[in-house]
């Protein structure tokens, strides 16, 4: 199956046409990690968004830089997105992402290429930004349900 067809099964790109998915596929870079690898570190500058292709990662948040007991907020698996906050607000990474499965494969999308695509193709930009907002909303709803 072509990368663009697989991207069509990711919520972030739901609502895009075949040509638009091809344009997204053209700016994706596949990256592989092993268990325990840290994909992003809280506090670092970030200019990539990641789509989990395979494997499971944990989202770890530290209250302070030397927090002795960092908290795992949630695990994310196939089809999920991380790194979107730093991509849209240009702030530092809000959490660390560590691989907890034996291995993980992600598709990385660089901010500059992504923003250029969104600005040049308004429908694509609107749909992906709406889907990012919906994904952040879903994560917030998940957190509301934890500890209910």
């Amino acid at each position: 199956m072509k990368l663009s067809e697989i991207l069509g099964q990711v919520e972030l790109f739901d609502g895009l046409g075949r040509d638009e998915l091809e344009q997204i596929a053209a700016i994706c870079q596949e990256k592989s990690f092993r268990s325990g690898d840290v994909v992003t570190q809280q506090g670092d500058a970030g200019d990539e968004l990641f789509v989990i292709w395979d494997g499971l990662v944990e989202v770890v948040h530290e209250v302070s830089p030397h927090d002795p007991a960092p908290r795992t907020v949630v695990n994310l698996g196939h089809g999920q997105v991380f790194g979107e906050m730093a991509l849209v607000d240009y702030g530092p990474r809000s959490a660390s992402i560590r691989v907890v499965s034996d291995a993980a494969t992600v598709q990385a999308i660089h901010r500059d290429a992504f923003m250029r695509l969104c600005e040049d193709h308004n429908h694509l930009g609107f749909v992906v930004m709406r889907n990012i907002a919906a994904d952040l909303s879903f994560k917030l709803r998940h957190q509301h349900l934890v500890g209910r």
Binding site: G8, Q9, E11, D14, G15, L56, E58, R71, T72, V73, V74, N75, L76, G77, H78, G79, Q80, V100, S101, A134, F138, K139, R141, H142, L145, V146, R148
Partner: protein
């Protein structure tokens, strides 16, 4: 295109942080689900928000399986 279920798994009791995953099938009550190395039992399935496109959005409560 087949439906995709985006699931918010919350674990009742214990320290597991839960997970968000895409599933090909809608989880059912009593079903066993593996999150990493740990296995849990589904005790609640709720539609979290209306479906959009090919995606359905679910909240699933899990608990450690009864022996």
């Amino acid at each position: 295109m087949t439906a995709i279920y985006k699931v918010s798994y919350v674990v009742r009791g214990g320290s597991h942080p839960g997970a968000i995953l895409n599933e090909e099938k809608r989880p059912e009550l009593g079903q066993r689900v593996k999150l990493g190395a740990q296995e849990f039992e589904v005790v609640e399935v709720v539609d979290l928000m209306p479906a959009r496109g090919d995606f359905s959005f679910l909240h699933v409560t899990l608990q450690p399986p009864k022996k």
